[in-house]
């Protein structure tokens, strides 16, 4: 099975976010990053399928040069090679522009059976890109996947629905799946994996290679403009208790819970 996994590099979970001087984006200088959480689960799921059924795992990443760090990490975890859309023209797109580029990059690969993406990026959070790619490729899709069983010519997958419901769905290959966090336990890269990753191929492609105009991708290809990025207004009706002195904080909180909220 040949599987392409879309991975996005995002700010580390607890990273302190600073808004850049353009007022529309995040200042990325010195920002610690990681592979988007659900993409890690998607990569793990792909590696397991190929370990069981044979084949190849290729990661595809649209992001600046700095995203090589995440690509190397994915290669160290066991992906065979990578496609990196790093040219400036690709950057700062919305989900529509990003998916257009990723789909075109996937089309340069031969005989792909399966594309996997995370269900949602932890930074932009569009929850769109994987499904957009599916429509661009003209392939069937299933989202929020929690289990995958390979069958003759297709897949049986378990989808998560709302409020504790699930659904088994069958679909033919080639197909696109978006993976929900928790589907498996993500492996760590081994030292051997990290050493091996250095020798693995990272292919960079330009819009030209993909048969796309510069106007189709990146900022120019957007269907949505981010006019402004800002801190939400504090709606905190909460009484905030300073926690530097834990003993005092505990005393104050218990007092409030007893006397004001009357829940103790």
């Amino acid at each position: 099975m040949k599987i392409i996994v879309c991975i996005k590099q995002v700010p580390e979970r607890d990273a302190r976010l600073r808004i850049a001087s353009d007022g529309k984006s995040i200042d990325e200088t010195g920002l610690a990053t990681e592979i988007n959480e659900s993409d890690q689960y998607a990569l793990e799921a792909a590696l397991r399928l190929v370990e069981e059924h044979g084949g190849e795992v290729v990661v595809a990443c649209l992001g600046p040069d700095a995203a090589q760090e995440s690509i190397r990490r994915a290669l160290a975890m066991g992906a065979d090679r990578a496609i990196h859309l790093s040219e400036d023209a690709f950057q700062d797109g919305d989900a529509a522009a990003t998916a257009r580029a990723l789909a075109a990059a996937i089309e340069t690969e031969e005989e792909v059976d399966l594309v996997m993406a995370g269900l949602q990026s932890d930074d932009a959070g569009w929850a769109q890109t994987g499904v957009l790619v599916a429509e661009r490729l003209g392939w069937p899709s299933a989202t929020l996947i929690m289990e995958i069983e390979a069958e003759e010519g297709g897949l049986k997958v378990k989808r998560e629905l709302e409020s504790g419901w699930f659904q088994w769905v069958r679909l033919p290959l080639p197909a696109v799946l978006t993976i929900q966090s928790g589907i498996n336990t993500v492996r760590y890269a081994t030292l051997k994996g990290i050493m091996g990753a250095k020798k693995k191929e990272i292919k960079t492609l330009s819009p030209d290679h993909l048969g796309l105009d510069a106007g189709d991708v990146g900022e120019a290809g957007r269907r949505i403009e981010i006019a402004r990025l800002y801190e939400p207004e504090k709606t905190a009706e909460a009484e905030m208790i300073e926690g530097d002195d834990a003993v005092k904080a505990a005393d104050v909180l218990v007092d409030r819970l007893q006397k004001e909220a009357r829940v103790l």
Binding site: A127, V131, E160, I224, A227
Partner: protein, 329 residues
């Protein structure tokens, strides 16, 4: 943007789901501000009185899209049906609830129409006659103002609870129900639905608990859970968790609170090391008193809390346990 605003509804066995009224209300408010007519869209047959319920709201009409291929739900059939309806009627703006079903097919629809889709919207403003949609990227830590670059039909999905469904205006008389002919007989549905089920493995019913202490990824590791368990015991409450804690199998799935877990409304909810993502908040926002303990003063959980302690949970939780034991004797 020219044309109508569509409020695409979702229904279950009892008719319209609550989120559908939220979408109708949002369409009414935005329609008022932009002077665009509002129409409700009801898909699929057999879902109670969904079309009649939508028609009771103040809408120009209800567009009913019926076809045998729409049940059970599949992304192929829904994408084709909505695409045909939109291409025939040319609405300017199509609003959806941000449900799992909409996540599953609306991006396909956006790609098929090659249009903009602002997902998970929490509010809007109208500036110089232009619609600005507000969403919360970076896990709800920041706000982003979004505008469409094209004339439409444009798409947007609304976060559950962002608009108040109860406020959707009712019409003086029922609106007309107009059938939209989408004839899906030529559409190939590639996914086959095999089985839809609820998983019931010795589920603890947290919805009955009076006191819940919920722990998040801030706890760092399974072995640290003990301090939170002790607090729950001291308070006489149940231990619960955010999704990552269950994903990591530090606690079983049936302890998860949120959109893919349980919905609870205890007298006291203590959130320890939980950031307050919307998918968590929908499961606990009905709680009477909410306490959050988090080292990040900007954590979104504080916005839905009554008491917030900013600090290191590893220092605060044991002290809190000690103090609770003292006063409870």
């Amino acid at each position: 943007m020219a044309g109508a605003i569509w409020a695409v509804t979702e229904s279950g066995g009892d008719g319209l789901k609550p989120v559908s009224h939220e979408v109708i209300f949002a369409a009414q408010v935005i329609g008022d501000a932009l002077d665009m007519p509002v129409e409700a869209v009801v898909t699929s047959a057999g879902d109670g009185d969904a079309a009649e319920q939508a028609a009771a709201r103040e809408v120009g009409c209800v567009r009913l899209i019926e076809d045998g291929k729409l049940a059970p739900y599949t992304p192929d059939a829904y994408t084709a049906a909505l695409r045909r309806a939109i291409e025939a009627e040319e609405p300017g703006l199509v609003l959806f609830p941000h449900t799992y079903q909409v996540r599953d097919y609306a991006p396909r629809l956006a790609a098929a129409l090659d249009t903009g889709f602002v997902s998970d919207v929490v509010g809007h403003r109208v500036e110089d006659g232009d619609l600005v949609l507000v969403r919360q990227p970076y896990q709800g830590k920041l706000n982003a103002d979004c505008v469409f670059t094209g004339e439409g039909p444009n798409l947007a999905s609304l976060q559950a609870g962002a608009y108040l469904g109860d406020e959707a205006a009712r019409g003086e008389s029922p609106a007309e129900i107009v059938e939209v002919d989408v004839d899906l007989s030529d559409v190939e549905v590639r996914t086959e639905v095999l089985d839809t089920f609820q998983e019931v493995e010795d589920t603890v019913d947290l919805s009955r608990s009076d006191v819940i202490v919920a722990v998040g990824r801030g706890i760092g590791d399974e072995e640290n859970l003990e301090i939170v368990r002790e607090l729950a015991d001291a308070l006489g409450g149940q231990l619960a968790a955010s999704r990552p804690v269950c994903d990591n199998e530090w606690l079983p799935m049936d302890r998860q609170i949120g959109s893919s877990g349980q919905t609870v409304a205890p007298r006291l909810y203590v959130a320890v090391g939980i950031s307050g993502a919307i998918q968590h908040i929908v499961g606990m926002k009905g709680s009477q008193t909410v306490v959050a303990i988090n080292k990040d003063p900007d954590a979104p959980i504080f916005a839905v809390s009554d008491y917030g302690v900013v600090g290191d949970l590893f220092e605060i939780v044991p002290e809190l346990t000690r103090r609770v034991k003292e006063v409870k004797g």
